[in-house]
C-alpha cells in the first residue's frame, strides 16, 4: 500500500511538470510559432547549428515579423532518432501550437512523422530533399526537390561527357536509393547503360571490399551519406588506386571546404553535382555570403543555404496570406511562391516540390585554398516522375 502511495507521489509530481509547462505556453497566443527539428546531438550533431544559422538569418532579415505578427522560433533536437523526432513533433504541435515545422533532415524521420503531421495539417519542410512519397500527404514543402530530382543532372552530365557505361555506388538505405535512382534514370534516358550497382551499408567506413570488386566502366556515379563517409570514400578510392573517373552527388554538402583541405591535393579535379556553391558569381549570392560570414563568423555552405531558402519561401507565403499560418491559407500560398535565393531562382510545384536550379562543380585550388567551382548549370530541375 505504501509502495503504491510512493509510486503515486512520484508519478504525480513528475507529471505535474507537464501541466505547469503547458500553462506557460498558452499565454503567448498571438505570436506566430515556427518549430524546427535539428540534429543537435548524435553522429551528425555538427549539422544542426548550421541549419539553424540559415533559418535565423532569414528571420533576422524580416526582424522576426511577418504580416504584423511576431515570429518565435522553437528549436528541438532530433537526436538522429525517428522516435525522438515524432515525440518532438507532437510536443511542437500540441504544446507549443505550431503550424509550421522546418526539418527534420533524415528521410526515415520524415516517414515517421508524416502521417501524424498530415493529420494535424502542419506545413512541414524537409531540409534536404524528401522522398516523392511525401507529396501524397499534401503538406510537405520538399526542398530543393525530391531525392531523384536532385541527382538527375549527374546522369545528364555523364551522358554529355560522352560516357556510355556507368557503375553506380551508394549507401543502402531509402535515401541512397533515391539519389542513385536519379542518376540512373537520367543516364539511361540519354542512352547510357549502368553495368554495375554497388551498395554498402549505412555507416560503412571500409570501402576496401567494394573498391576491389569494381568492374570496368566509363565512370562511377556515387552517393555517400555525409562528410565523414565522403572523406573515407575519396581517400580509400585513392589508396586502392582506382582509375575510373568519379562523378559524385551532393558534393558541396558532403565535402565543404574544411573537408577539401583535410583531403588535400587528391581531390583536385573531382567533379559532381552540387546544389549550392559559395563561389557562384551572382549578386544575391555574394551579398548573402558576406552577410552570413559577418553574422556567424564562418563561410556559409549548402546547409545554411537550404534552410535559408526554405525559411524565405515560408516567409514569402506568410507574407501573401497576411500572416495567416493556418493550413487552408498557407498551403495554396506556398505553391505560388516565386523568389530569388542565393542558390538560384525558386518556384514551387503543385505537389509542394520546389523547382530550383542545380549545378555541376569541380574542385579547384587557388593558392593553398581548395574550393568548388561551378562549371555547368541545369535549370528548373524536376523529378521525371512528376507531371510537369
Amino acid at each position: 500500500m505504501k509502495k503504491l502511495i510512493t509510486l503515486f507521489l512520484v508519478v504525480a509530481v513528475l507529471a505535474s511538470f507537464a501541466v505547469v509547462g503547458s500553462a506557460k505556453r498558452a499565454r503567448a497566443a498571438e505570436t506566430l510559432k515556427i518549430g524546427t527539428i535539428l540534429n543537435l546531438t548524435g553522429p551528425i550533431a555538427f549539422i544542426g547549428p548550421l541549419f539553424k544559422n540559415g533559418i535565423v538569418m532569414a528571420l533576422e532579415e524580416v526582424n522576426y515579423t511577418v504580416g504584423g505578427r511576431k515570429i518565435e522560433l522553437i528549436p528541438e533536437d532530433a537526436a538522429a532518432d525517428m522516435n525522438v523526432c515524432l515525440e518532438k513533433s507532437k510536443k511542437l504541435v500540441e504544446r507549443d501550437k505550431v503550424n509550421i515545422i522546418l526539418g527534420p533532415l533524415m528521410g526515415d524521420a520524415h516517414m515517421a512523422i508524416a502521417p501524424y503531421l498530415a493529420g494535424k495539417k502542419v506545413v512541414t519542410a524537409s531540409f534536404y530533399c524528401g522522398d516523392i512519397e511525401l507529396a501524397k500527404y499534401k503538406n510537405w514543402f520538399i526542398y530543393p526537390t525530391t531525392l531523384v530530382g536532385l541527382t538527375v543532372p549527374v546522369g545528364y552530365y555523364a551522358a554529355d561527357l560522352g560516357y556510355k557505361t556507368m557503375i553506380t555506388a551508394g549507401t543502402d538505405y531509402a535515401g541512397g536509393h533515391g539519389f542513385i535512382k536519379g542518376i540512373k534514370l537520367a543516364f539511361e534516358e540519354r542512352g547510357g547503360t549502368v553495368v554495375q550497382e554497388v551498395w554498402w551499408p549505412v555507416g560503412n567506413q571500409d570501402f576496401g571490399p567494394y573498391l576491389s570488386g569494381l568492374k570496368d566502366a566509363d565512370c562511377i556515379g556515387y552517393f555517400v551519406e555525409g562528410p565523414s563517409a565522403a572523406q573515407l570514400w575519396i581517400s580509400q578510392y585513392h589508396q586502392f588506386g582506382v582509375k575510373i573517373p568519379l562523378l559524385g552527388t551532393t558534393m558541396a554538402a558532403d565535402m565543404p571546404d574544411q573537408i577539401l583541405s583535410e583531403l588535400g591535393d587528391i581531390c583536385i579535379g573531382l567533379k559532381g553535382q552540387a546544389l549550392y556553391l559559395v563561389t557562384r558569381k551572382d549578386p544575391i549570392n555574394e551579398k548573402w555570403v558576406k552577410a552570413m560570414t559577418d553574422r556567424f563568423g564562418q563561410t556559409p555552405g549548402g546547409l545554411e543555404s537550404n534552410s535559408y531558402s526554405i525559411t524565405r519561401t515560408i516567409l514569402a507565403a506568410l507574407q501573401a496570406t497576411g500572416g495567416d499560418d493556418s493550413y487552408g491559407k498557407l498551403w495554396p500560398a506556398l505553391q505560388k511562391v516565386k523568389i530569388d535565393t542565393p542558390q538560384g531562382p525558386l518556384e514551387v510545384s503543385p505537389e509542394g516540390v520546389a523547382i530550383t536550379s542545380n549545378y555541376i562543380a569541380e574542385v579547384k585550388k587557388k593558392g593553398d585554398r581548395y574550393y568548388w567551382d561551378p562549371i555547368k548549370t541545369y535549370e528548373r530541375v524536376v523529378d521525371p516522375r512528376l507531371k510537369k
Binding site: 548524435g42 554498402w200 571490399p209 581517400s235 580509400q236 586502392f240 583531403l263
Partner: protein, 286 residues
C-alpha cells in the same frame, strides 16, 4: 586470384582491429568477471587523443599511439578504481554503470572535440600504397596486420609465459584459492584493467587509420567487441584473435560477394557458433 588476395588482406586488417578491440574486453570479462560496456567508449577516447597528438599538435604517429593508449588506460583505470571496484560480483550494476559511462564519455568527447567526424590519419611513412599482384594496396593496412600480430604475440606471451599471466589465469579459475595463496589480486586487477584499456586506446589510434575518430564509435565498437567475444570465446587472447580474424574475413568477403547482406554474415556466424559451441570457439568455461 588477386581479388581473393586483396579481400583477404582487407579481412585480415579489419580482423586485427577487431581483435585488438575485443582482446581487452575479453580478458577483463574472463579475469575479473567485469562486463565493461564502456570499452568502446575507451577505444574512442584513445582515437581522439591520438588524433590530437598526432594531427593537431603535429607530433609523430607513434607518440599519438602512445598518448592514445595512455589516456585510455587512465580513463579505464579511473573507472575501475573509483567505481567498478565497489561493484565486484554485481553484474547488473556494472552493466548500468558502464553503460552510463558510454553516454557520458560520448557526450564529453562531443563537447571537447566537436561533432565533426575526423579524417582517418596515419604515420607519414605509411601514407601511400604497395603494388601487390598488380593491384594497389594501402601501406597502412599492411602495417595494421603486422602491428596486430606483434601485439597478439606479446599479449599471448604475457598471458601464458609470465607470472602476471599465471595470476590472471589462476584468478579466472579460482579466485579464493589465489587470494589465499597470498597474491594481491586487487593490484593485479587494476593492472589488468589498465592494460586492457591501454590496448583499447591503442587500437583506437591504429583503427583510426581506417575509421577516423567520431562520436558514434562508443556504441559501434562495443557492438563489434561483443560479436567477436561471442564467436571467439571469453577470457583468452587466442579466442579474441580467432574471433577477430574470423569475423573480419567473413564480413569482408560477405560484403564483396553479397553486398546487400553486409552485417548479416556477422550475425549468422554468431548464431552458428552459438548453436554449435555456446561458450565460443576458444572460450574458457565461465
Amino acid at each position: 586470384m588477386d581479388w581473393f588476395v586483396i579481400n583477404l588482406l582487407n579481412g585480415l586488417s579489419y580482423g586485427m582491429v577487431l581483435f585488438l578491440i575485443a582482446s581487452g574486453m575479453s580478458i577483463v570479462l574472463g579475469a575479473m568477471g567485469i562486463t565493461n560496456l564502456a570499452h568502446g567508449a575507451i577505444y574512442m577516447v584513445g582515437a581522439y587523443v591520438g588524433w590530437t597528438v598526432a594531427m593537431h599538435w603535429k607530433a609523430t604517429f607513434g607518440l599519438g599511439l602512445l598518448a592514445g593508449g595512455l589516456a585510455a588506460g587512465l580513463v579505464g583505470m579511473a573507472i575501475e578504481r573509483g567505481l567498478l571496484r565497489r561493484l565486484y560480483k554485481q553484474p547488473n550494476e556494472q552493466v548500468l554503470l558502464t553503460f552510463g559511462f558510454v553516454y557520458i564519455i560520448t557526450n564529453l568527447c562531443l563537447w571537447i572535440w566537436g561533432g565533426w567526424p575526423r579524417m582517418p590519419f596515419t604515420a607519414e611513412f605509411l601514407r601511400g600504397s604497395f603494388e601487390i599482384l598488380g593491384k594497389t594496396y594501402p601501406k597502412a593496412r599492411v602495417a595494421i596486420i603486422l602491428v596486430g600480430l606483434i601485439l597478439a604475440i606479446g599479449l599471448w606471451w604475457l598471458q601464458d609465459k609470465t607470472r602476471m599471466g599465471a595470476i590472471v589465469r589462476a584468478g579466472m579459475d579460482d579466485k579464493e584459492t589465489t587470494m589465499v595463496l597470498g597474491i594481491n589480486l586487487d593490484r593485479a586487477f587494476t593492472v589488468i584493467f589498465f592494460i586492457s584499456s591501454f590496448i583499447a586506446g591503442a587500437a583506437g589510434v591504429l583503427g583510426a587509420q581506417l575509421l577516423g575518430p567520431r562520436t558514434s564509435l562508443g556504441l559501434e565498437v562495443l557492438l563489434l567487441a561483443l560479436i567477436v567475444i561471442i564467436v571467439g570465446g571469453v577470457g583468452s587472447i587466442q579466442g579474441a584473435l580467432l574471433g577477430g580474424i574470423l569475423i573480419g574475413v567473413i564480413d569482408t568477403f560477405g560484403r564483396a560477394v553479397f553486398p546487400q547482406l553486409a552485417m548479416f554474415t556477422m550475425y549468422l556466424t554468431m548464431i552458428v557458433v552459438l548453436i554449435v559451441r555456446p561458450t565460443g570457439l576458444l572460450g574458457r568455461k565461465v
